[in-house]
């Protein structure tokens, strides 16, 4: 054994902790300011000549941007549409993903392998590559300019990734459990609902949050499928607000804050589940 190592990378003891905390502080200093600026910009008085020097706290602080955004942009109506889409799509999406994940964990290996491979391929296809053909299909079905195309991705579990996550979670449950259920003569549906689903509740919580964030933020789909102003979702209304007057930044930033807040709130509530798993059980996340 040689002498004590001078500064091996898993820094020993207190010194390492101080450095790591400094690093963490630096990361926060880089990543948080843009979001602070978003809030500060939205609180600027609209119509004032822009100040030549940067301000973190606007002078005067004004909520006029929010009032104008709600009035001109029709953001209230748009929020309602967004909520409607989320209320239908999110539970549906989680159910589809959970069902499919469970089925994959119980089916014959060959079927499972095929579906998993197809899911991986679907996962790789960039969303823009499917814009034109999907539009042609929905158009042929007469479903453009409705909210249906915005809800339809729920049939994919919003992202095939979520189906695969459920698959891994259900596969990790002990086999004995399933055998016991079969002895009890439970139907697959009952096993799924009464036994398996309650055991993966943390997975469901995290995936529900992520599904909500994705659904709520969806901009591309409304952009191509919805033209009726009364059906605009929040991201789309936000876009038309910024096109209306691109120089009036407090107004569209206020709208951006309104659109960001719910997504960020849900995300912050859920992030502990995939960022803070200091126990070894969290290691096998895909």
């Amino acid at each position: 054994m040689g002498g004590r190592a001078s500064g091996p990378p898993p820094l020993p003891g207190a010194a390492g902790r101080v450095w790591r905390t400094l690093g963490a502080a630096f990361v926060v200093l880089v990543f948080v300011p843009p979001l602070l600026l978003l809030v500060s910009g939205s609180l600027t008085e609209p119509g004032l000549p822009p100040s030549p020097t940067p301000h973190l706290v606007p002078d005067p602080v004004s909520t006029a941007g929010y009032r104008q955004a709600l009035e001109i942009g029709g953001l209230l109506r748009a929020s309602l549409n967004s909520v409607l889409v989320a209320v239908v799509a999110v539970p549906l999406s989680v159910l589809v993903a959970a069902l499919a994940g469970f089925a994959l964990a119980r089916l014959a290996p060959r079927t499972t392998a095929t579906v998993v491979a197809a899911s991986l391929v679907a996962l790789m296809v960039p969303a823009t590559a499917l814009l034109v053909p999907r539009f042609a299909i929905f158009r042929a079905l007469g479903l453009t300019d409705t909210l249906v195309p915005l809800i339809a991705p729920a049939l994919l579990g919003t992202s095939p990734l979520y189906v695969l996550v459920y698959y891994l979670a259900f596969r990790a449950l002990p086999r004995d459990l399933y055998d016991a259920c079969l002895v009890e003569d439970l139907s697959p549906m009952r096993i799924w609902w009464r036994v398996a689903l309650p055991l993966v509740r943390p997975v469901t919580a995290a995936l529900t949050a992520l599904t909500f964030v994705l659904t709520w933020s969806n901009f591309l789909d409304p952009l191509i499928y919805v033209y009726d102003r009364d059906l605009f979702t929040l991201p789309l209304a936000l876009r038309s607000l910024s096109v209306l007057d691109p120089t009036n930044f407090p107004v569209f930033l206020a709208g951006a804050v309104l659109a960001t807040a719910p997504a960020l709130l849900v995300f912050v509530l859920a992030q502990r589940r995939f960022l803070h798993h200091d126990d070894p059980t969290g290691r096998d996340r895909p």
Partner: protein, 289 residues
């Protein structure tokens, strides 16, 4: 139980992919029925300067943005993988921009990048005179100079590497402890440990994420280019493949032509998937899959 998902998988991914293949050889404007034009669309694409520019832009964007995103995510994962005061907050902060809705994020940067009253250039002008920076140079013209605009889009996309970071964080935490203890006994320096232990052990994950990110970059360049730079500055400095397809299809109503461009995008994706597949097979034993 698999049925709803299969419907989604077939109806929303496989069928559209097949439709692309068919539409690419037709002329279709939604009003008249598609008419067969054979290879005309693909031939026209090759000659189309706008398409060539957007393809180049997309490839250059992937070549620059993907390594930067990966490097930042790796650096953050290595910095934040061990517990210390404030590390939890920093992890959340690093992922936060990824959770902001794309359009809100785009509008935020549209303001940040404003050459006159945007906070970034205001900050750069601090200490300078007559609208110059402290070094006496003109601040970047983010939205009107082609190079600066491309840099702006890349800067925006670097901040949203949250997903990659989460995966790398998990991968780093899964590495065996004893290897690092051995390295410490060998008096290895930090750089040695990184180069000879951490990097080789994480290489498979990094390679997979790089391919994944390269494909995703075809898509995530859309909203920034659409909202912040509007494909400009003129003529087409930030028109990427995704924006080209969107414009051709949904603004000029040339769906057949857009489908042909989509076909090129799908071919790029397939090439990347093949690379990825080979990587997975090579590393299969490695993870005991």
């Amino acid at each position: 139980m698999l049925a709803p998902y299969l419907v989604g998988l077939v109806g929303l991914v496989l069928l559209p992919a097949a439709v692309t293949l068919a539409l690419a050889f037709t002329e279709y404007d939604l009003v008249n029925a598609p008419s067969w034009v054979g290879l005309d669309n693909l031939v026209a694409l090759v000659d189309d300067p706008v398409f060539r520019v957007s393809l180049t832009n997309s490839l250059v964007f992937a070549l620059v943005a993907v390594p930067l995103r990966l490097l930042l995510a790796l650096g953050l994962a290595l910095l934040l993988h061990r517990r210390a005061f404030g590390v939890g907050t920093a992890r959340a902060a690093a992922v936060l921009p990824t959770a902001v809705p794309e359009i809100a994020y785009g509008l935020l940067w549209l303001w940040l990048f404003n050459p006159l009253y945007g906070p970034i250039n205001q900050l750069l002008r601090v200490g300078g005179e007559n609208g110059l920076t402290a070094l006496g140079r003109t601040p970047p013209q983010w939205l009107t100079d082609p190079t600066d605009a491309r840099a702006a889009i890349i800067l925006m996309s670097v901040f949203t590497m949250g997903e990659t970071f989460v995966v790398l964080l998990a991968a780093r935490r899964a590495l065996p402890r004893d290897v690092y203890e051995m390295a410490a006994l060998e008096d290895a320096t930090g750089w040695d440990v990184f180069r000879r232990v951490t990097l080789p052990l994480m290489a498979p994950v990094l390679a997979l994420l790089a391919v994944r990110d390269a494909i995703a970059s075809l898509h995530f360049s859309f909203v920034p280019a659409y909202v912040v730079t509007d494909g400009g500055p003129p003529p087409y400095a930030t028109t990427y493949l995704s924006l080209f397809i969107y414009r051709t299809g949904f603004e000029y109503l040339r769906y057949g032509y857009a489908a042909a461009a989509t076909l090129v995008m799908i071919l790029l994706t397939v090439a990347a998937v093949v690379v990825q597949w080979r990587l997975v097979r090579r590393y299969r034993g490695f993870y005991g899959l």
